[in-house]
Amino acid sequence: MTEAVIRVGVIDDHPIVLHGLEKALHEQENLMITVTATDLGNFFDGQEALPDVVLLDLDLGDGSRPADNIRRLMEAGVSVLVFSAAAHPATVRAAIRAGAAGYITKTDALEDLMSAIRSARSGSGWVSPALAFIMLTDDAPSRPQLSTQEREVLRLYSTGLPVKVVAKRMDLSPETAKEYIARVRRKYRDAGRDARSKIDLRLRAVEDGIIPE
């Protein structure tokens, strides 16, 4: 069966990056860049058919907050892959909490970018070793609670070991090891959702006059 073509959008405020990505992805099979934009306003302007996956630069230089941008895109039904030059780990974590499917740096290899796009399209999410490392070294008080197994899988995977090796070292099946990694990502997303729910609840309570502003 022929693999469906993945429609990709790119939102980045650096024209050279936009241009470079267009060139690089143009040569890939089953992949089509349908839109490039320098901000979300441009992205949504005149768009009838939204792409499947959007590569989103975290700092668009327009003052917008990455988490807001991610939520806005997700609400539009787009899977978001964070594509950043040198984002601060806290910003990346916030992006994952906001629901981003994955994180990839602009200096990563093209094959990694392709894997990330395909994973994002399939809905499984893309946890690169770099993202695993960022989650592993999270020292924020609000970080999700990880089990010992999850933490150890994350630690070994973040060092660049293949999942198979990680699984073997922990006497797990590769699927289980993968599941542990995916579970950590979900915990981040859930934590972000909980936080948003709490904010929403508080706003509602303020509106209802239950708690003072």
Binding site: I16, G20, K23, A85, K106, P162, M170
Partner: protein
């Protein structure tokens, strides 16, 4: 400028004087009432002068209670004092001329005290001599009392002069320190604002560089159809813009040339050079150099830290460069704006700092409008209005000084010239601020107690004169003492001296306890009674009874400087009541004796009151010093952090300049084809290097900076290195760190082209590292001993690091583990937000250190 300690001291002195004035007015009225029948009733014109004096005293009491009297009032006071002294033979009865218990002496004495408090030392001395002469000369025939009263006046004036000079010096130092620290704080505010702006600017710069390199590596310069030349032109233009930005940032970081040699000599030479240059340009400049050989603020150094021999600490070369640059600006300012053709430069060198002061007598300006507030300090703006130009210079001076942790102060008033002070102090040890204001206040109080102790010793020694000179002149009122009459006076002096010595010995170390105070007060009352027993009739309030009229003031001084007011006032009241009962019982209604009695009690009481009032001033001074010390310490901590951040920034920019700018220049100049495949790989490698640098993970500015050389070499062979670092690498012992760098470098050297991931985690009691890359054979070199799974401990010869090497599932893995140093004791954490700039901060917590796999033996 805040002058709280000096204000408090001045307020205390003038209010104390106001109290004395008010009581002097009461005394004058009482005096007139007592002598009413004998003098003032028959000769009403004699009332004119005491009336004026009483009114003048009341006026001064009211005026001085609110604020320091104007210079004219002080001069008028001295003139009135002299006139009162000169006219004494006509305004007081003959018996009272030159006497200690006369409103004349009080008027003269208070004018002298006013002069001591309000005037400079030399003018105060002249005033005291004039007043002393005016008091002595008309009453010269009324010896010995005129000699006693004149000596008393001069003694009080000299004592007050010494005390106020000392207190003023302490208050002045506290205030000047606080003011200077406040200046530094303002400069620091600018520095923080600048740092924030620079940080944002640099973040943008690095982000732009990184994105450009990443975009080029992806093929961002590869043309699509007809837009070939347009795309390339845009890329070139962008490269040129980045080059200009990096070069601009590098210029901003350069604080001056770092010429070798003794910076002090260099500073002196530069100052002289600049003065000469300015003279050549038509400005006459005089230069003065002062080396104090002392620290600027002695309180800054805790006694334990203070070396016995004070040596000058060298001024850093960058500070010299900034000082001379700011001096140049200041001299230019004089030339352009002052309207004067002369200026004075004063260089003051303390052991721990330096000040360059530039004075001119030009037209001046409103300096309060050009303070170093952060908003006005933000660089930029193209103002051409003269005042704006001056504002620009002000910014420039403040900004330059702030860059090296110094500060500038500009004092100017329209029409009254300008003074620019450029200050730099070496940061001092963290233990400088005393624990709290109480400690320092206690220290000041100890100094004040000791000063009082010295006064007591001197006073008691002087009392030996009447004790010897007037011994036996007044027959004892107690008959039993008559046979020993001449010796009684000497015995009493010995008792007074013993009591005083005991009190002084205690207050030299600590305040008197309640019991000791009660013993002192009781003994003093007993001595007053003994004095009365040793003299007869009206002599009880004459100099023959020096034990009662002069000694109590000295004997109770240790109590006054030790105990709360209720306790010392109790002793004063006890002595006053005793003297009053004894005096009134002996002198009856004799006017001279009555006024002497009142005068004695007045002098004794106000002296204790005046001394007790010093304490609030000491408290305020202590608080000023503490505030300055705390602020100073915070600033030093911030300054040290800022210096580290500055060095870090400089390294990052230098690396951009070295590694990236040549590539971008080649593109901008058309010498390199950015679409070329090999060039694109180069851009990708540089982009990864910039990324590593920004993440603080191995670049020149990050931990394990030494590793970057090996990474560069590996990248040149086609290895793509991903470096991930978490934790504090300062905690790695030096030998382990060197070994780690060697092992990692060796691993990288043996890694085949392709992806290599290096992960370093440092935290808890040990650190761990992993190097992984696709391979089917174990890592070469020292790791050759490793075989296929399971991982095997490799003997690398390292004493500090354990190494496991293995190949699993087509991946070569080198695992390293090393011990860490115990964490440093917690340091004070300054709140300066510039600390957040340091990319290596905040990465120490929660580094996972669990290992589930045992290392094979």
């Amino acid at each position: 400028m805040s002058t709280r300690a000096q204000d408090a001291l001045a307020a205390v002195l003038f209010r104390g004087l106001a109290v004395l004035r008010a009581l002097a007015a009461v005394f004058t009225v009482s005096y007139v009432a007592i002598w009413w029948g004998a003098l003032y009733h028959p000769r009403p014109w004699a009332l004119v002068v005491p009336g004026i004096v009483a009114a003048w005293n009341l006026y001064c009491a009211v005026a001085a209670a609110r604020r320091a009297p104007p210079r004219a009032v002080v001069v008028a006071d001295i003139v009135i004092g002299c006139l009162v002294g000169l006219t004494a033979p006509w305004t007081v009865p003959d018996a009272s001329v030159g006497d200690t218990s006369s409103w004349v002496l009080l008027a003269v004495l208070l004018a002298g005290m006013n002069a001591v408090i309000a005037l400079r030392a030399v003018w105060a001395l002249i005033a005291m001599v004039l007043l002393g002469a005016a008091h002595l000369w008309p009453a010269i025939d009324y010896r010995p009392q005129v000699l006693t009263s004149t000596a008393l006046m001069l003694f009080v004036g000299a004592g007050l002069s010494q005390a106020t000079a000392r207190l003023r010096r302490v208050a002045l130092e506290a205030d000047s320190w606080l003011a200077a620290v406040a200046g530094r704080a303002r400069a620091e505010t600018i520095a923080v604002a600048r740092a924030r702006a620079d940080r944002a600017h640099e973040r943008l710069l690095h982000d732009t560089v990184l994105n450009t390199l990443a975009g080029l590596s992806l093929g961002g310069a590869v043309a699509t159809g007809a837009a070939d030349s347009e795309t390339l032109a845009q890329v070139r233009s962008r490269c040129r813009r980045i080059i200009a930005l990096v070069e601009g940032s590098l210029d901003g970081l350069r604080t001056g040339d770092e010429t070798s040699g003794d910076p002090d000599v260099l500073l002196d030479a530069r100052v002289a050079e600049l003065a000469e240059d300015a003279t050549t340009d038509g400005l006459t400049v005089t230069v003065g150099f002062t080396r104090t050989g002392q620290p600027r603020w002695p309180e800054r150094a805790a006694p334990a830290d203070r070396p016995s021999v004070l040596t000058e600490e060298q001024i850093p070369a960058d500070v010299v460069a900034v000082l001379t640059a700011a001096l140049r600006e200041a001299l230019r300012n004089v030339q352009r704006h002052s309207g004067e053709n002369s200026a004075r430069i004063s260089v003051t060198r303390w052991t721990d700092g330096v000040q360059l002061r530039i004075d001119d007598d030009g037209r001046g300006f409103d300096a309060t409008r050009f303070g170093p507030d952060p908003l006005s300090a933000v660089p930029g703006g193209g103002d051409h209005h003269p005042e704006d130009i001056r504002l620009g210079i002000t910014r420039s001076i403040h900004g330059r000084m702030a860059d090296v942790g110094g500060w500038a102060q500009i004092f100017s008033t329209p029409g009254l010239g300008t003074r620019v002070e450029l200050n730099w102090q070496r940061p001092h040890s963290p233990m400088v601020p005393p624990a709290d204001a109480t400690d320092l206040r206690q220290s000041y109080e100890r100094a004040a107690r000791r000063a009082a102790g010295v006064a007591v010793v001197v006073g008691v020694s002087l009392l030996a004169l009447p004790a010897v000179a007037y011994r036996g002149l007044s027959p004892p009122s107690v008959a039993a003492l008559a046979p020993f009459s001449p010796a009684v006076s000497l015995v009493l002096w010995l008792l007074v001296a013993a009591l005083a010595t005991w009190g002084v010995a205690i207050i030299w170390r600590r305040p008197l306890t309640v019991i000791e105070a009660l013993v002192t007060q009781g003994s003093t009352v007993l001595l007053v009674l003994a004095g009365a027993a040793a003299t007869s009739g009206g002599d009880v309030i004459s100099i023959y009874n020096w034990v009662a009229i002069a000694a109590p003031a000295l004997l109770l001084l240790p109590v006054t400087v030790s105990r709360p007011w209720k306790q010392w006032a109790g002793g004063v009241i006890a002595v006053v009541v005793t003297q009053l009962v004894l005096g009134l019982g002996r002198v009856g209604t004799a006017p001279l004796e009555l006024v002497r009695l009142i005068g004695t009690l007045y002098g004794f009481s106000v002296m204790q009151l005046f001394i007790a009032m010093i304490w609030p001033a000491l408290r305020t001074t202590a608080e000023s010093v503490i505030r300055a010390a705390r602020l100073d310490a915070e600033l030093d901590a911030g300054q040290a952090a800022a210096a580290a951040v500055r060095r870090d920034r400089a390294r990052r920019l230098a690396r951009l300049n070295r590694d990236v700018l040549p590539l971008l220049r080649a593109i901008a100049d058309g010498l390199a084809d950015p679409t070329d495949e090999s060039n694109r790989r180069l851009y990708a490698g540089r982009a990864r290097a910039v990324r590593r640098m920004l993440a603080g993970s191995g670049g020149r500015a990050g931990p394990l900076a030494e590793l970057e050389t090996a990474i560069d070499a590996a990248e040149a062979r086609g290895v793509v290195v991903t470096l991930q670092v978490a934790g504090d690498f300062a905690a790695i012992p030096r030998d382990a760190r060197d070994e780690l760098v060697d092992l990692l470098s060796e691993t990288l050297e043996g890694a085949p082209p392709g992806r290599v991931t290096i992960t370093l985690l440092s935290g808890g009691a040990f650190g761990e590292g992993y190097v992984s890359y696709p391979a089917t054979v174990p890592p070469p070199g020292r790791f050759t001993g490793g075989s296929d799974q399971p991982a095997k401990r490799v003997d690398t010869g390292s004493r500090s690091i354990s190494v496991d090497a293995s190949v699993e599932e087509g991946t070569a893995i080198v695992e390293l583990r090393w011990p860490l140093l115990p964490p440093d004791p917690p340091q004070p954490t300054p709140t300066d937000e510039r600390h957040q700039e340091n990319p290596n901060r905040g990465k120490t917590a929660n580094v996972p250190c669990t290992r589930t796999r045992d290392v094979a033996p």
